[in-house]
């Protein structure tokens, strides 16, 4: 169970990205975080595993106060949280298998990591995950030879290699075409449900969020302005999150021109 209380993040340049976010994720399932660019979605996710250190507030994962941990304990905490990135962030010059196994880095010794001597059960698990994400037989391909969708599949496998208690997913589909985006979301949601792992997914595509999430959180200007089921995401709710706009078209099909709207939102936010 993840409990976030009054989370505030103020960057050194004075930007207040989060202004007191409080939310609880108790059940397994996919929680989509939507909101305009600059709303603090990315900061929120990075504050949970402290890739970004919050200014104040608390993040508690199953009775463990992540915000209070020292370096060593923080690393132990990070092992329990798998993270998936928009730009995949694979080690491009390593093979698919090395990338997937890097999810176990928190558990193996430096020597094992250097010699790539991971325990056999880890290698077996990695093979299983590669099958699940549809990359069987590609374990010796170098990551820089893969397409965007394939790279994200490796990213998902790497995060799940950690056997995490929580998945943090930052815009998993923003760099992908619409069809690949749906495939990736489907894999992600299926695996999260199957493993019973709660997943916090930042996503800017409202339609994708509606079709795949069990719960939607709307973030605007560093504050939670919506929290409910995907069906509750009405035109009024979207106006509260993104501002005034004719939402009747968005609620039905996925909007492929979303990128332009996003950029306009950035200009407003900055």
């Amino acid at each position: 169970m993840l409990k976030i209380t009054d989370l505030v993040k103020e960057y050194p340049n004075g930007l207040r990205a989060l202004k007191g976010v409080t939310l609880t994720i108790a059940d397994p399932g996919v929680v989509a975080v939507i909101g305009p660019s600059g709303a603090g979605k990315s900061t929120l996710i990075r504050c949970i595993n402290r890739l970004v250190d919050p200014t104040s507030g608390r993040v508690v994962l199953d009775d463990m106060d992540v915000t209070a941990l020292g370096r060593r304990d923080l690393r132990k905490a990070r092992r329990r949280m798998g993270m998936i990135f928009q730009e995949y962030n694979l080690v491009e010059r390593l093979t698919v298998m090395e990338n997937v196994l890097s999810g176990r880095l928190g558990y193996v010794s430096f020597w094992q990591a250097w010699r790539r001597r991971y325990p056999p059960q880890d290698v077996a698990a990695a093979f299983d995950l590669l099958d699940r994400v549809g990359l069987d037989g590609r374990e010796n391909t170098r990551a820089d030879a893969l397409s965007g969708g394939q790279r994200q599949r490796v990213g998902i496998a790497r995060a799940l290699m950690q056997r995490p208690d929580l998945l943090l997913v930052d815009e998993p589909t923003a760099s992908l075409d619409p069809k690949t985006a749906r495939q990736i979301m489907r894999i992600l949601v299926e695996l999260a449900h199957e493993l019973g792992t709660p997943a916090l997914v930042n996503i800017h595509d409202v339609h994708l969020a509606q079709s795949f999430a069990d719960r939607v959180i709307g973030l605007c200007d560093g504050e939670v302005v919506f929290d409910g089921g995907p069906a509750d995401l009405t035109a009024e709710a979207l106006t509260a999150i993104y501002g005034e706009e004719d939402w009747s078209a968005t609620i039905r099909p996925a909007d492929e021109d979303d990128e332009n709207g996003e950029n306009a939102a950035v200009a407003e936010a900055v």
Binding site: T95, R115, V123, A124, A126, D128
Partner: protein, 263 residues
Amino acid sequence: MADTRIWRPPALIESPALRHGLTLAVILYLVWSIGGLDIDWGRVSQGLPRAGRMFERMFPPNFERWELLVRGVVESLEMALVSSLVGMIIAVPIGLCAAGNMVPKPVYLAARAIIVVTRTFHEVIWALFFVKIVGFGPLAGVLTLIVASVSFISKMLAEDIENMNMGQVEAVRATGASFPKILLYAVTPQILPRYLGVAIYRLDANIRHSTVVGIVGGGGIGMTLTATFKRYDYDFSLAILLTIIALVFLGEFFSSWVRGRLR
């Protein structure tokens, strides 16, 4: 979980025969080269205590004879300046002739030969010769640094000219311009910023190299430094070394600042 698939970490070199062969070759080379070297192990084993004693005498650095130090540094700087300027002027015709797209083949080969031969021999070798010809002192050092600068700048210049946009040359040629006019209007604008950048970099490099020509009698701070080593004045040696480090640091700073502004 009865997964029997095995995964081997990828090796740097695919073929095992080649991989093990190379490892063996490296080991054999190490044995052969270290064994073959004319090494006085007894003397080498004294190295650590000797180094300790040397450092003891080095600290604290002795700046008492700062006048000698300043004179040497100024001389080095002057040598670097003069040789850079002369070098960057002489480098222009040679660099132009060494660009394959601008001149006939025989000229190109001759210019390339000059660059290769000047580059191949270390500055110190050139300095030895110039000392024999014009005697000890800064003149030999300046001549050495000129040779090194010409070699370096003309090579860079030739590469820039070879990589430049030929479309612009054709356009100017199409107006009926003669060869010098083409150089002026189509070549110079394209390569001037980089040429100046390379020249400034060479000035910075010459400051560093001016210390080494002194070792064989080419003037500058290097000559002072060698003398201190010969007299075991290690505390003064350290003072000179620290000054050189500071000087090179400043020179690099200046050089990157100027090159940043040239862009």
